[in-house]
Subunit: 333 residues, 4 copies
């Protein structure tokens, strides 16, 4: 970490700062420039609060040289992490498609979708039992009944299940779930992350709508620091000024994340775009630029469903996406 | 709500949609234009999922005419809500300054700051016991011990206390707290909001870094729908491309919120800017454009504190801010 | 266009508005709802200033039903436009790679790069003679000398040339250029667009860093309204809060643009990411989601160039990108 | 400037880089850390292209210590610049209100508005003759006829005039204009900036919708580098995800700009908010946080004008704003 001091920094301010940094066990290299003095900090600077130091009167700017995350950092763990979800491997060359309906609605629906997506190449089943909804008046999911139905679908198809948690108090209900998803709006719900760090189960961590790649990695670090290193990251669109799509899918985050971390990275084209006809091009593009997997919404019965054009694909459309995704992966191999 | 259908929408799609809306108890007015058909929905559309309808194949666009929030909506509650925090009123012409240190550190500190800010015009005491930190390696607050010290400071000064909750499981610890704060990163932690809707205590709800004004009001609606209508909103800066300030303080949100809702709106210039020397101009500007209060970080002992230039003001600086804020309020009255 | 009136709109305000709209030759359908009155405008509303109407006292909101662009609108021109650049076709199934150095430096350089990229599959040559630079102290390009060298490279290889204009006053110098590029920072330089509308030459119009898809189409409309309908659009990254990449490449803009317009859409992965090692994944991803072409920076002599790791690819790297791009296109066909 | 090298940087890469920097006349201080090597550059680094260096293979990151602007930099010119516009001074304690209609429409209108705003405290007259419009089909202004009418209004009232230029080719028409405005969309029209650098007339430079404070200063530097140091900066709202206001007025940019530059800074609350009823609170807030002036839209005849609720104030509303602005300035003095 480099601390650039102001020209007008007083000696006592500099000494107070030096004292503070040495108290944290850091070594300091001072170097005097023409128009400023630079303090180079050597040692473990992950505990230094960059914002706080930046706001000091004597400080012009702070520049981090080392990333503030350790366990998630590829520098210290060059080999790809492979996450095992009920026997299905993600990362390190293993590519998986997680598919299923937005919400679990009833037994027939979830089992039917599970069978269709398995046939079309999905290896993991998704389905929402606890639904984060902007409006308190909207349907909030079937809760424990939804989890029970997901397990029935797992029984029927053998697909391990992935589903979202919204409150750490519900953790006991998730005991048989194979992978716990943290939604975008909870990416910085630090108390939830801490508790998931104590769970012996893979976590699917979605990037927040307005969170940087570094913040995503810091949230992964929260879980890993607790002892649970089975984390899969998920890019699902960020919030920008553009309103033509629900979010802006940040596909360049995939190769960037692969440089910075050893954790697997998957992409959710359904939530990013919000429109089923954009799911196919973005799913294939995600595979083309190196994603380790996809999570895609598929519904079962387009003839009777209201949402026949929604962000969910039909099983046939999903089959087409799946075929092209695997073909593109061969080219990029 | 207006649903604009595509030119190529098929009759069966339109009928399915009509059936769906009438099933929700809505009346439909169809009107045929040159290049599209428009469906006007009359009735309570708060339960309609705009995103879902937008994504239907037959639908070109959906435009809400009525806001999706009811209890927070000024249209249905024209009079300003006045929130009472331990006897101190916010809103409806009542302006209050909440002040105190970023974190509660020890008894001497919190009591000393409490006394200083009271003398300088603050009527409520803030102080963090549970601290949301981006890094798992950073200090996370004194927790229940911090709450205990805050109560001591309240005893010493009579100032009601405001402090942040990060996990609904900690609610029993907050029984004697006068106002519970929901931080920016938890603004869409819907499970927490639901539980706060059942609490008989005022809530300070901070706007998320990337949340729209409408989403802020929907989160307030979550709390109010549970029965707790004592909500104070807080603008604290949003995330933009600009990096010269930590966040971009969106002061025009204040008059906009005052049009849309009857709830009080306060401003946090300390977290928005991250630099103490920007707190004064932005605090006064907030008062100038109609804020119902401010929440400002003040620390006690600049001589020995490391953070003598941080986002916290000294008691003397705070006094100066306080004087000017009240003078500007007189001009704007 | 739908104008939603406020409940409290006065009769005289409504009449004034009706008078205004009929004066523009529009027909008005009034429809009275429970909590508001809606004015539906039928006719050519492209001339109506949405912002101005929105800001009227009597108006709650304005919703456009029809897009404000006509000539660029796929609704009125369902067939793909094919743009011919010196005999090389873009759009309507024709995919082209434009390649070349960031800046034209000297004759040897530009001819050498032109030969390399031609061999590796590029069909058009790019190279900057007028360079938009944030700093007035940075190198601004070789200007007319640069254009002369580009023409030499065209002579040597047969590749038509694409280069950026920054000032309409320079138009006479561009007479032999095959395609004129409008850079991101000039996307809303409306006077330049108007003048390019009078030119009989294809235009490559780059999306501005903070411009919406609709604004990009409105800028294309400016050129087309002048009579020049040979416009190719280019996505090159937008400005967001993320700082890990120079810009955020908005690949979902490609399928969205293909729905809204008949104009070809290409992608610039070099400027979007700013780092050569991200060019390959993003170039292939762009092809996967339907781009009609790519514009890529390639430099000639990595051994002596300073910028051997910059956003430019070596000819070998470019060959690899080119191969994979064409392979992916086959899969998506 | 600090260049942080990667751990794996090869010696030849480092030497090539050193050679490049010494070739620019810079001195290099190398310092070896545990996990990286840092190159400190001493000398005039304004000519170094940060983006280019960042993209080199051997480079981890580049951090600027000195700002890339010199003439606009307060460090080198600690005293406030006072800009004289036809005898009216802005900056250095001189506060001015520029007011007038959005567009010049006819002689009666512009003279009537000019008289009203003068009476209510405005000291400079604005009015658009060349109008930047998103749509080619919208009214584009009266052009030279508009400039002629503005000069008539100046004659009638003595108010110096401020009006926007959109094309450097029109410069001869602006000879009698007192201050030339560069609109937000042309903030990085570098060729226009260069030509304005050769003009002997004050320039009002508006911040682009998606431009950082540093980019605004670099654009001012373009004008100043040409020899014209009479530049006034204008904050007019930035583009964010929020849609409740047309733009997000970034008022904290004012105190930040005052730290970084000696140039005067004014605020345009009319364009930022797009709604007249938000102009008053934001105008007063701008004065509260230190603006050196305001530019406000005022129209003349609300009874007959269509836009009686638009972003323009009536003369009476303007009078009220003006009174409160001057009262707040006294408090902040």
């Amino acid at each position: 970490m480099i601390v650039i001091l102001k020209q007008e920094a007083r000696q006592e301010q500099i000494e107070k700062l030096q004292h503070f940094f040495t108290g944290l066990g850091l070594k300091i290299h001072m170097s005097q420039g023409e128009s400023c003095t630079i303090m180079g900090l050597v040692g473990d600077t992950t505990q230094v609060d960059e914002d706080m130091i930046t706001s000091l009167d004597a400080v012009e700017a702070v520049r981090r040289v080392q990333e503030p995350y350790k366990k998630a950092n590829r520098k210290f763990h060059p080999t790809d992490t492979v996450v095992d979800v009920g026997g299905v491997k993600i990362g390190g060359g293993n590519f998986q498609i997680i598919a299923g309906p937005c919400s679990v609605e009833n037994e027939a629906q979830i089992i039917s979708v599970a069978k269709s997506v398995k046939e079309a190449g999905a290896t993991l089943l998704r389905g929402g039992a606890f639904k984060p909804r902007t409006s308190p008046y909207a349907f909030q999911g079937l809760h424990d009944e939804g989890l029970r139905l997901l397990l029935k679908a797992k029984e029927a198809t053998g697909l391990p299940i992935v589903t979202e948690i919204m409150d750490a108090a519900d953790l006991p209900l998730f005991e048989q779930v194979d992978m716990i998803q943290v939604g975008a709006r909870n990416m910085q719900n630090f108390e939830l992350l801490k508790k998931l760090g104590k769970v012996n189960k893979p976590i699917l961590l979605k990037r927040g709508l307005a969170n940087t790649i570094q913040e995503l990695l810091m949230s992964a670090e929260y879980i890993m620091a607790g002892g649970n290193e089975q984390v899969v990251l998920c890019e699902r669109g960020i919030r920008t000024f553009e309103t033509a799509t629900r979010n802006t899918l940040d596909l360049s985050a995939i190769p960037v994340l692969h440089e910075k971390t050893h954790l697997p990275v998957i992409v959710d084209p359904s939530h990013a775009t919000g429109v089923s006809r954009l799911v196919k091009p973005m799913a294939v593009a995600a595979a083309a630029c190196g994603a380790d997997g996809l999570i895609i919404e598929v519904h079962n019965d387009p003839k009777h469903a209201l949402c026949d054009g929604a962000q969910s694909l039909t099983p046939e459309e999903f089959q087409d996406v799946s075929n092209r995704v695997f073909a593109v992966r061969k080219i990029m191999a």
